[in-house]
């Protein structure tokens, strides 16, 4: 995803934006923004005329004063349904108590301004839409002021806006709600002045989430809670091995269950399956579990974790496709053997397991369809549903449903869950079909963080700093064979395999990085922070090892090794040192501090943990985190994202934090076999400190994840003297 982001950064500088207004039937102010990229226009050709999109695209001010702000993202915990409206409301000078967020349906106008598809990923919700939402707010405010000035026959320059009211000379005032309709007839300004950060009254404040109450009283509806008239529920029997095909089905017992409507075979993204449709989920699942299916597994690769481990480790001992070759290749051979480290690492497949099981609801009506999906990839899912139904994307009305987590699992390139729902709905015309993947299907269903092996050889200089670093990474490509490949595969290497290593901020003069992307019959996917989950672990544990050998303080060693231009990392290490020195220097007996730092998605993070060992497991008493994410839009959300991301990152240290395969079959079924962190597994306190900044805001969803596991393991090493290079962490 970073590759796509970098390429489009250049486009961002050139973009022209048009704001269009139209009058709503209800008499509200409607504003839509059209972003035009040079990528879609011939170089040097005139700009296409501004398009007018469906009304009420981003802001709707109703006569009662309520201001509806459309959020062009999925809300799945990251808090964007509060923070993007904050950005718009700031420039609009809106009365925050009247702001109501709404999640956008799939539409051209809601595509990510940089990625060109409607999505949540790459930690871009705020960073990519910050400027867009500020401009929308400022232009809307300018139109409201112009409308008031017209009414009072004064210059707009003598009017000002505050808290949803325009004030004019002589004590005149008018509420936004009364100005809204006439404001739509105002020309949309081409340029507007945006506020200086010193003028912000919302941005930078700890603003509570707008969805808290509904999520605490059971009233918030998620995709799985959808209940439509006449709706049926579907559950699919998936093959036990990826790509397996149905040979025969005995559904006699299943059909006997009262409420079962139909049972039939459907094609899947890999192989075929059997769909059960019933009045209720419970009936559908009982019927599905009662099917007797014979599967055709002929000619299918049976992936096996222990065999893959051997194969990957062997591959890691050979040079792969070269990603970085900096400095002198012979530097390693000049380092005496006593000053060399060879380290081999292994990482398992990981499932995302968001709390809300995967689901999608589709109603097919012949020449059109409607879909309700908790989706991170709205426009891609819309297109895939349309294709499955033989429709055009614009014939599919696509609603973005609130999601119970996602972490990448709802950003699936082949849209396999919505497509299954569409194929089933095709058989039940005019009937909404809610497809549910029970937890077992999710745990066993693939689309995992890929398994990886790393091999690193380090030649240490006489000064204790790494003089030569030779690194090989082995893991499946996430994007090979997909439309993302052209952008994200370079020199035969998927960028997501090496991100976090290829762009390391450590100053290592002779640095060689290569990678292998073997194919394996296991579907893989981005898992919150993607490649950084393993690259940061390897680099941060090795750098800590180097610091120990050099008998240097781990923070001081990192500062010395970092490039001077890695300003954000230097800043977070300084802040971490300041905020954690107190407790790090007064640790009780049997405790140790662990340090790590990493920059990804534009955000730098440094972390210190206080760890002891209880029952052969790490007990993490506290974590102190320092963050540099540019301008902090909502420090409360940032704090929550970092506290939560630390917990999420600990998934890979859990004793049962691995998906393994034997004879092509996934060995775990549910949370009893694949066990993410519970309350006792995460630090009791996590204090988050933000470096003050007015630079452009950068991501906060993924950057918290990579730092925690290496920090904990670095502390464990200081307690036990052992190295921990194979995850999951089965025993300390």
């Amino acid at each position: 995803m970073r590759a796509a982001m970098k390429k489009n950064d250049e486009l961002h500088l050139n973009r022209r934006s048009f704001l269009c207004a139209s009058t709503a039937a209800a008499g509200g102010l409607l504003v839509s923004l059209y972003l035009d990229f040079p990528a879609f226009a011939q170089e040097g050709s005139p700009a296409p005329p501004p398009k007018v999109y469906a009304p009420d695209a981003f802001v709707r001010i109703e006569p009662n004063g309520k201001i509806f702000i459309t959020v062009n993202r999925l809300e799945f915990g990251q808090g964007v349904q509060t923070s993007l409206p904050m950005v718009l409301a700031e420039e609009l000078d809106a009365d925050w108590s009247q702001v109501v967020p709404e999640l956008a349906p799939a539409a051209e106008v809601y595509k990510d301004p940089l990625f060109g598809i409607q999505m949540v990923g790459g930690s871009g919700s705020i960073s990519h839409s910050f400027q867009q939402y500020r401009e929308l707010g400022a232009k809307t405010r300018a139109m409201l002021i112009a409308s008031a000035a017209d009414r009072w026959k004064v210059s707009p320059n003598v009017c000002r806006a505050e808290n949803s009211v325009v004030y004019g000379p002589g004590g005149k005032s008018a509420r936004y709600a009364e100005l809204a309709e006439r404001a739509t007839r105002q020309p949309v300004p081409n340029t507007v002045r945006l506020k200086n950060p010193s003028e912000f009254h919302l941005i930078g404040k700890k603003v509570p989430r707008l969805d808290s109450r509904a999520k605490c009283d059971g009233s918030q509806k998620f995709g799985l809670d959808l209940d439509l008239p006449g709706m049926k529920v579907a559950v699919v029997a998936h093959p036990p091995v990826f790509g397996g095909r149905v040979k025969s089905v005995d559904d006699k017992e299943a059909r006997r269950l009262s409420g079962v409507k139909d049972i039939f075979e459907i094609p899947l993204a890999r192989g075929t399956g059997v769909a059960v449709v019933a009045d209720r989920f419970w009936t559908a699942k009982q019927a599905r579990d009662g099917l007797r299916i014979e599967w055709d597994l002929s000619g299918i690769e049976l992936a096996d974790s222990s065999q893959l481990s051997t194969r990957f480790k062997e591959l890691a001992r050979t040079t792969g496709n070269v990603v970085v070759a900096r400095g002198d290749d012979k530097a390693m051979s000049r380092t005496p053997a006593a000053r060399r480290i060879v380290a081999e690492y292994e990482f398992p497949y990981l499932a995302h397991t968001p709390m809300e099981p995967l689901n999608a609801t589709v109603r097919f009506e012949g020449d059109k369809a409607e879909a309700w999906v908790p989706s991170q990839f709205q426009t891609m899912d819309q297109m895939a549903i349309a294709q499955a139904l033989g429709l055009k994307p614009e014939q599919v009305t696509f609603h973005t449903e609130y999601a119970g987590g996602g972490f990448g699992r709802r950003a699936v390139i082949d849209s396999h869950v919505p497509v299954e729902a569409a194929l089933i709905a095709k058989r039940f015309r005019d009937t909404p079909i809610k497809l549910v993947w029970p937890r077992e299907d999710d745990v066993r269903g693939g689309y995992y963080r890929p398994m990886h092996a790393h091999r690193v050889e380090i030649g240490i200089g006489a000064d204790g700093m790494p003089a030569a670093w030779r690194h090989v990474i082995v893991g499946q490509s996430i994007v090979a064979g997909t439309p993302f490949a052209a952008m994200m595969i370079r020199n035969g290497v998927d960028h997501t395999t090496v991100e976090g290593a290829s762009d390391t901020n450590y100053n290592i003069p002779n640095f060689h990085l290569s990678a292998h992307n073997p194919t394996v019959n296991v579907p893989v996917l981005w898992w919150r922070s993607v490649g950084n989950t393993h690259t940061a672990f390897v680099i941060e544990t090795l750098v800590d090892e180097l610091a120990m050998r050099a008998k240097m303080d781990p923070i001081a060693y990192r500062r010395k090794l970092l490039k001077s231009e890695a300003k954000k990392l230097h800043a977070v290490l300084d802040l971490l040192d300041e905020k954690s020195a107190g407790w790090r220097k007064n640790l009780p007996k049997g405790h140790a501090a662990g340090i790590s730092c990493h920059e990804c998605f534009g955000t730098a993070v440094a972390c210190a943990v206080d760890v002891s060992i209880e029952n052969k497991r790490p007990k993490i008493h506290r974590a102190t985190v320092a963050v540099h994410c540019g301008l902090p839009v909502n420090p409360l959300t940032i704090e929550s994202q970092f506290q939560g991301g630390i917990g999420f990152g600990l998934t890979q240290l859990m004793g049962q934090g691995a998906i393994t395969l034997k004879d092509g079959r996934v060995e775990q079924r549910n949370f009893d076999g694949y066990t993410p962190p519970y309350i006792g597994d995460v630090p009791v306190t996590i204090d988050v400190h933000i470096v003050p900044s007015t630079e452009a805001p950068t991501g906060c969803g993924e950057p918290p994840v990579p730092v925690i596991s290496p920090a904990v393991v670095n502390a464990l090493t200081r307690l036990t003297g052992k190295r921990y290079r194979n995850l999951p962490l089965v025993a300390v």
Binding site: G77, S212, G218, M355, F648, L650, Y678
Partner: protein
Amino acid sequence: MATYQLNVNGQSKKVDVDPGTPLLWVLREELKMTGTKYGCGISACGACTVHVDGIATRSCVVPVSLIGTRRITTIEAIAQDPVGRTVQNAWVEKDVVQCGYCQSGQIMSAVALLKATPKPTEQNIEESMGGNLCRCATYVRIREAIKSASQQL
């Protein structure tokens, strides 16, 4: 199929379902009370936690036929209880939720904890909340909210 008269949030509700249907699916699909969530179906995540005669119970593994006349309380009615209201308010005050999907279950477990142990220790909290999974890992703020509610009770 069998008919059951259930006491849900102080109201009598008649349902006609298979005796083996878990209480969770009776609440969600028959009574359309979707505040109680499905997360795993094997009592491993706590998202489906309700109170049965005041005891925190995983509704995904309790067949409706075993409920009888016991009082069922769900997230939709927990605000009517003074402890429930305090806990809910503490959750909002501490900005606990992220995706929010597990929070019905977290709140139901926290209310049961505070009713039995109004001044819980860290260990009490870890034990009582230890079966409630949150993939957003809002655990630090859950602890803070429980302590805040405890102080107000």
